[in-house]
């Protein structure tokens, strides 16, 4: 069998193109009004169906949170700090409070450390489920939009029981946490987690092992290990490229040093590996919640901490659902910090988006792009 030659008219067109003005490309603007963009814009340069160049245009949700923190006292800033990653609010809250505690020299009681981890892990599951539902709808899989959002409510109810708010908990405060475990929380939580673990098996059947999904995600949007390290990717994006890095293990904070859990990693670096890692992380988080509820020691949940930011600098970081989130704080003795700077995981993972998209098909754009779990509100701050 011989390869058919290119038809003459097309070849003529191609030669005229190169002769006149070089290869012609089409620039497409995706977002912010687009079902596959969220609150940001991607400027994509296309040659036919192939993406030649992709540039993210963030800043649609820039609200100047760092500046707002300078004019409010540290307690009033807690809800503001939570808003950027509203589906993963307690992890940002935790990082912020850890920076304050470092400056104040206050250490939270052991029981509150466990409670912080409990809420962090619940938030991780909630965030991953939200991501999964949007991933489902991007791929046209409506069942995968409905199921995770329905199961997310299981954990939202639990968090509401514990903290009083659905998604913006403001639970972690300097010196501890706001509330103790309510009565009957552990039983309810274990019941719900048992149900959720069964659901994850069903997720495997309908989505993760489904050829409709695997054929669209495997080998799409590959981020090689060396590149992931070079651009400073973090979280599941980094672990999907075969780097075993998780702050909960590498630099244990709160109660994580006393808990036993695994860090899922994959070598492929494609969209599928990043997706499956999040599913495995949800299982690990379930394990962690069960351990916390079993091991949690009795004792006080809050130590008195002054509403003062002492003179000095502090740096803290935690592993949020999307990766490393770090706070840098400078105090000058008042009740307001002199400067707050924070870098979120989405901001760091934004550099990965052009690498993932380049050379791929336009039709694969939503898969590759959303597999990073880029939450624009968090990146813009």
């Amino acid at each position: 069998m011989t390869v058919p030659e290119k038809p003459a008219p097309l070849a003529a067109v191609e030669s005229s193109r190169t002769a006149d003005s070089g290869p012609q490309t089409l620039t497409v603007s995706v977002g912010p009004q687009h079902s596959g963009s969220g609150h940001m814009r991607l400027i994509i340069e296309l040659d036919g169906d192939i993406i030649v160049n992709a540039a993210p245009d963030p800043g649609y949700v820039h609200r100047g949170i760092e500046k707002i923190c300078e004019v409010r006292n540290i307690i009033k800033s807690i809800p503001v700090i939570e808003r950027p990653a509203i589906i993963d609010s307690s992890n940002l809250n935790h990082a912020y409070i850890r920076a304050i505690e470092e400056l104040q020299g206050v250490e939270a009681p052991v029981r509150s450390q466990y409670l912080r981890c409990l809420l962090n892990e619940m938030n991780r599951i909630m965030s991953h489920l939200y991501w999964l539902s949007i991933f489902g709808v991007f791929l046209g899989h409506t069942t995968m939009f409905m199921w995770p959002l329905g199961d997310r409510e299981l954990f939202i109810d639990l968090a509401e029981k514990l903290t009083g708010a659905r998604i913006t908990h403001s639970y972690i405060v300097p010196g501890g946490v706001r509330r103790d475990l309510p009565q009957g929380f552990a039983d309810e939580a274990i019941k719900r987690i048992a149900y959720f673990e069964k659901r994850l098996v069903e997720y495997d059947k309908i989505f993760f092992n489904n050829p409709i999904f695997t054929s669209r995600a495997k080998g799409v949007g590959v981020l090689p290990r060396s590149e992931a390290i070079a651009i400073g990717a973090t979280g599941p994006t980094l672990r999907g490229s075969g780097v075993d890095a998780d702050l909960r293990k590498d630099e244990p904070y709160a109660a994580y040093s006393k808990l036993d859990f695994g860090i899922p990693t994959r070598k492929e670096g494609d969209s599928f590996s990043r997706a499956i890692i999040r599913e495995e992380e949800m299982l690990e988080s379930c394990k962690l919640i069960k351990q916390i509820l079993k091991d949690i020691p009795a004792g006080p949940i809050r130590r008195k901490a002054p509403i003062v930011v002492p003179r000095g600098e502090a740096y803290s970081r935690v592993e949020s659902a999307r990766g490393e989130c770090s706070f840098y704080m400078v105090g000058e003795g008042g009740d307001k910090p002199y400067r707050v700077r924070f870098i979120t995981a989405s901001f760091r993972n934004m550099s990965a988006i052009p690498v993932l998209l380049k050379g791929g098909h336009m039709a694969d754009m939503p898969t590759a792009w959303w597999s990073v779990d880029y939450w624009p509100v968090e990146a813009d701050r």
Binding site: G59, G64, S133, E153
Partner: protein, 184 residues
């Protein structure tokens, strides 16, 4: 010479005829509008509008998380006819989900202008009402009403999905009592 003149006359006559036709068509449409707004056609048209409120795919800030939860399995906005699919030209509803930054405000106005009439706006969250938590920020607009007309406000930071559902029901009630040709 005379042939030219007659041609000009003919043009004048045609223009006059077109004008009078326009006037008559205008009057006719006025009559039709009046009939529609009085008769049972109005309730049928409004019934159609009430149960096909398709929102635009635009998210302005973090309230989108609760909008997502409201579209999901437990709350399921689709039972009210709110289906977050479809293009801008086919949508009726614009939900300003949270803080509107100055950069986003321009796009939001552009989107509102491109939507086909009838179009409705829900301002979701404290930030879309008055700036909320970020009222003193340098980069936000204090409320959606500053650049688009708002039908229903939903307070909360973020509002619970139930609050959004109530807003949808209130908007439906508003549409039920509105005239077909009222909105321009």
């Amino acid at each position: 010479m005379s042939a030219q003149k007659t041609a000009q006359d003919q043009d004048d006559v045609l223009a006059m005829l077109a004008d009078s036709i326009n006037v008559w068509v205008g009057k006719l449409s006025e009559i039709v509008q009046r009939i529609v707004d009085v008769g049972p056609i109005r309730s049928v048209v409004n019934w159609g509008r009430i149960y096909s409120l398709w929102p635009v795919n635009i998210t302005t800030a973090c309230c989108s998380a609760e909008f997502g939860a409201a579209s999901g399995a437990r709350h399921d906005l689709e039972r009210f006819g709110v289906l977050p699919l479809g293009s801008l030209r086919q949508s009726d509803l614009l939900v300003a989900e949270g803080t509107i930054t100055k950069k986003m405000a321009k796009r939001l106005r552009m989107i509102y202008d491109q939507m086909a009439i009838p179009r409705y706006v829900i301002a979701m969250g404290d930030c879309a009402i008055s700036g909320g938590l970020f009222h003193d920020s340098y980069s936000i607009v204090n409320g959606a009403h500053e650049f688009i007309p708002v039908d229903v406000y939903v307070p909360g930071c973020p509002p619970r999905p139930e609050a959004l559902e109530q807003a949808i029901i209130m908007l439906q009630e508003k549409i039920r009592h509105s005239k077909v040709y009222e909105r321009g």
